[in-house]
């Protein structure tokens, strides 16, 4: 199929079934349309003023019941066998945990690295375990021909072998709210050496050099602040839309007055400003927001990241 690359081991199989049904369908469509048109011309009232009441024909009825049934069953079997392949994960597949939430993806590798795009080694099988933190999402990489729903309370999986270097789109296919359409990410396939250099290296998120424009799709946008919060797991406890979770929502808190308990349990009023937010993130145990458990962990991050977080929380007013 020329429209999209066949960039995984599954792609060829899916396309083969598709093509098989497409050709048969086209044959029958052309045949039926041609017959209809031919009859309309041949038996037009001008040419054929008297119709003939043919009531039916048992053999024909039998034929056009049996033949389509056989064809349909072939289609079914072909679709089924190739699907079975897509469900049988090879033993040596690397297991990556995918988490979907409104409205971003995050990926966790076996060694604990977290990313907001999916970096893959070419020709190495991968198994994705899909988790959702809120509603149902759909994990779809068109170029790989894989798709699986991401259902809360249930871990689904999918697997594939990426066979082509490049950057491919990850899209969410199940309506999950206002930003469903922009719940995108990139799957970046690089040679094994490059992958391992990153995997065993120091860098946390996918380094920029991998996200350089590669065929066929343009490079992904730089990580947004929300994506950063997702990657650092902040959104596991904080919503950005006002609903309370383990921790208070981050929406609309900036500029308000808040009540906190300090280390000795004394209550005190604070102004939620840059400084406070910074303290809350860097040293969460120092001041605990009233009504919430002292559950927030300390998170390692760069100054740049901290600055972006504070900016973002300020912007959520």
């Amino acid at each position: 199929m020329p429209f999209i690359p066949q960039a995984s081991s599954a792609a060829g199989r899916v396309d083969a079934v598709f093509l098989f049904i497409l050709v048969l369908s086209a044959v029958f469509l052309v045949f039926i349309t041609a017959t209809l048109v031919w009859f309309v011309i041949r038996y037009n009232r001008k040419r054929h003023p008297r119709g003939v009441d043919i009531e039916g024909n048992g053999w024909l009825e039998f034929a056009w019941t049996a033949i389509p049934t056989l064809i349909f069953i072939t289609m079914f079997l072909y679709g089924w066998t190739n699907y079975s392949y897509m469900r049988e994960v090879p033993r040596d597949a690397m297991v990556i945990e995918v988490t979907g939430r409104q409205w971003a993806w995050s990926f966790r590798y076996p060694n604990g690295k977290r990313t907001s795009h999916l970096l893959l080694a070419a020709d190495r099988p991968v198994k994705l375990e899909l988790h959702s933190l809120d509603v149902i999402h759909g994990f779809f990489i068109a170029a790989f021909r894989i798709k699986q729903d991401v259902v809360p309370g249930k871990v689904n999986y999918t697997w594939f072998v990426p066979t082509q270097l490049g950057t491919f789109d990850i899209e969410c296919t199940v309506i999950c709210g206002v930003s469903h359409a922009i719940m995108n990410a990139k799957a970046v396939v690089v040679p094994v050496e490059g992958f391992e250099a990153w995997y065993f290296g120091e860098e946390d998120d996918i380094p920029a050099r991998f996200l350089k424009p590669a065929s066929p799709a343009p490079a992904p946008a730089p990580e947004s602040a929300l994506e950063l919060l997702n990657r650092k797991s902040c959104t596991e406890c904080h919503s950005v839309d006002g609903s309370p979770m383990v921790g208070p929502t981050l929406k609309g808190i900036y500029g308000r007055e808040g009540a906190v308990l300090d280390r000795d349990g004394r209550e005190r009023a604070v102004m939620i400003d840059d400084d406070y937010v910074r303290r809350a993130i860097v040293d969460p145990a120092a001041e605990i927001t009233r009504g919430y458990p002292p559950a927030m962990p300390e998170t390692v991050m760069t100054d740049e990241e901290l600055r972006r977080m504070v900016d973002y929380i300020r912007s959520l007013r």
């Binding site: 199929m1 429209f3 199989r13 899916v14 079934v17 598709f18 049904i21 369908s25 029958f28 039926i32 017959t35 209809l36 009859f39 037009n44 009232r45 054929h48 003023p49 008297r50 119709g51 009441d53 043919i54 009531e55 039916g56 024909l60 009825e61 389509p68 049934t69 069953i73 289609m75 079914f76 679709g79 089924w80 190739n82 699907y83 897509m86 809120d134 509603v135 759909g138 779809f140 068109a142 021909r145 798709k147 699986q148 729903d149 259902v151 809360p152 249930k154 789109d169 899209e171 296919t173 199940v174 309506i175 999950c176 709210g177 206002v178 469903h180 995108n184 066929p216 799709a217 343009p218």
Partner: protein, 531 residues
């Protein structure tokens, strides 16, 4: 004898909305449904405009989400589901089987009221509360439980619409069992009636299941009852099971009466009997039955067990067999006919073509491996517009053209009707074939925007929608003019032979002076010629 259109005692509106005459109720449905159709159609075109103007989006994302939800809910629950059954079924079923009315005329009126009530509730839900529902017409939990929009009221409206559908089904089954004219055995019944019979059973037996499912979602939102909520141990996939247990059979509620109407039109204009009467009649029943066993094909990627996927895929292919049988019999019905391509016939032939494309794309989706790729993309959107608009919608137009002179006693301009066909056909295929290609490329559905690689496809589809719009405006303008200024119609303008063509146009209030005695099979156009 005076026609049903003459307001006997009660005049004005009251004579209509309190009338229990099946013909008037059919017209009531026609009027309400056409109005709703236009609302939804305008929203459809607005969605096409949104896909043209991307940056900044013309409508906010939240608005777009409300658009496709409302468009889907109106089109499905208020247009194609009542569809040909509520309009032409109500109007012609009793006439075709030689009865004076349906079995329960008052219940019939009540079901129209339920329809209107449901519609009003849905529309109220759009403008009150915290905004119009944004879940899509499928209302998947847990999103439909969590979203802040006015889903509770919307679901209540849909529940009412389901109630209306059940009452109609109940009425039709009883009518067909009890009120056939003397001599009208099952095998002498017109095939439109057969298709309504199959449909009615689906309406009756499938609708309650979605009813209870939607009630549970409402209970979930209002009382936190928690039957589907994963946080409380519920299983969101069970919701999908129950939803599709109804909503797949529902697609056959949409298509069966359409197929029935086509089966009336083809023999009339081929001027010969229908080929394979029994095959067509029984395939309607087979579709109704097998159709209840395939719902899982909407859930192949949901994480359902592989065993279930296997069964559902197999059944999906089996349910396509009776549809194929119908297509082949329709084609053969033209063989050695004496064919006249007048507007109803033109649209009926178009139906066969478009439905075949829709059905064949359905086969692609039914194949497991392929479905993984196509699910929830524009390919699906293309498929169901082909079957629902190209199928049910076009059949609705064909039936309207066929029975219009009978229902209103006026003729329309046949030239204009043929002329309108061209933009409809061209625009339709640009629009929806474009969607099929987009879907194959990986364009997900329910997106207010799209990635750059899909833009060309979207432009083509949008242009198609504008052409289609032009055609439809012409089509309906023609009928409106005919209503107001059309010439008087004869009682049998096409040379049809089923019972409705033996009474006046418009039909008298009591349908028949004397209930006719039925002698032989329907569709005997050339009794003296035989082969």
């Amino acid at each position: 004898m005076s026609s049903y259109l003459d307001t006997g005692g009660r005049g004005g509106i009251a004579g209509w909305i309190f009338s229990t005459d099946h013909k008037r109720i059919g017209i009531l449905y026609l009027a309400t449904m056409t109005g709703l159709f236009f609302v939804a159609v305008v929203i459809g075109v607005l969605m096409r405009v949104e896909q043209l103007v991307l940056d900044p989006p013309l409508f906010a994302p939240q608005v777009y989400n409300a658009f496709f939800t409302v468009h889907g809910v109106i089109m499905i629950f208020m247009f194609v589901l009542p569809g040909l059954g509520a309009v032409f079924g109500n109007f012609f079923l009793p006439i075709m089987i030689g009865a004076r009315d349906v079995s329960f005329p008052r219940l019939n009126l009540m079901s129209w009221y339920a329809f209107v009530a449901g519609t009003v509730i849905v529309f109220v839900s759009l403008f009150t509360g915290d905004g119009a529902p944004d879940t899509g017409w499928t209302f998947y939990v847990p999103f439909s439980v969590r979203t802040g929009t006015n889903v509770t009221l919307g679901l209540t409206g849909v529940f009412m619409l389901g109630f209306s559908s059940i009452l109609t089904g109940l009425n039709f089954i009883t009518t067909i069992h009890r009120l056939r004219a003397p001599g009208m055995t099952w095998h002498r019944m017109p095939l439109f009636a057969w298709s309504l019979y199959g449909t009615a059973w689906v309406q009756l037996l499938a609708t309650p299941i979605v009813g209870i499912t939607l009630l549970l979602v409402i209970a979930e939102r209002v009382f936190g009852i928690g039957v589907f909520d994963p946080a409380k141990g519920g299983d969101p996939i069970l919701y999908q099971h129950l939803f599709w247990t109804y909503s797949h059979p529902a697609v056959y509620i949409m298509i069966l009466p359409a197929m029935g109407a086509i089966t009336e039109i083809l023999p009339t204009f081929a001027h010969r009997t229908v080929f394979g009467y029994k095959a067509i009649a029984y395939s309607s029943m087979a579709i109704a039955f097998l159709g209840s066993l395939v719902w899982g094909h909407h859930m192949f990627t949901s994480g359902m067990s592989e065993q279930a996927n296997l069964l559902f895929s197999l059944f999906t292919f089996l349910v396509a067999v009776p549809s194929a049988i119908k297509v082949f019999n329709w084609t053969s019905t033209l063989y050695k006919g004496s064919i006249e391509v007048r507007p109803p016939m033109l649209y009926a032939l178009t139906f066969v073509f478009l439905f075949a494309i829709g059905g064949l794309t359905g086969l692609m989706q039914g194949a497991l491996a392929v479905n993984v790729h196509l699910h929830d993309t524009y390919f699906i959107v293309g498929h169901f517009h082909y079957v629902m608009f190209g199928g049910t919608g076009v059949a609705f137009f064909a039936a309207l053209l066929y029975w219009f002179p009978k229902m209103f006693g006026r003729t329309y301009n046949e030239r204009v009707a043929n002329l309108a066909w061209a933009p409809i056909f061209v625009g339709f295929n640009l629009l929806y074939f474009g969607m099929l290609v987009l879907g194959y490329m990986g364009m997900p559905r329910r997106y207010f925007t799209h990635l750059p690689q899909y833009h060309t496809g979207h432009v083509i589809a949008s242009v198609g929608s504008f052409i289609l719009a032009a055609g439809l405006v012409l089509f309906f303008a023609n009928l409106v003019v005919a209503l107001l200024r059309g010439k008087r119609a004869e009682s049998n303008p096409w040379g049809g032979v089923t019972l409705e063509w033996r009474i006046g146009s418009p039909p008298p209030a009591e349908n028949f002076d004397v209930i006719p005695e039925i002698q032989g099979r329907p569709y005997r156009f050339n009794p003296e010629v035989s082969e």
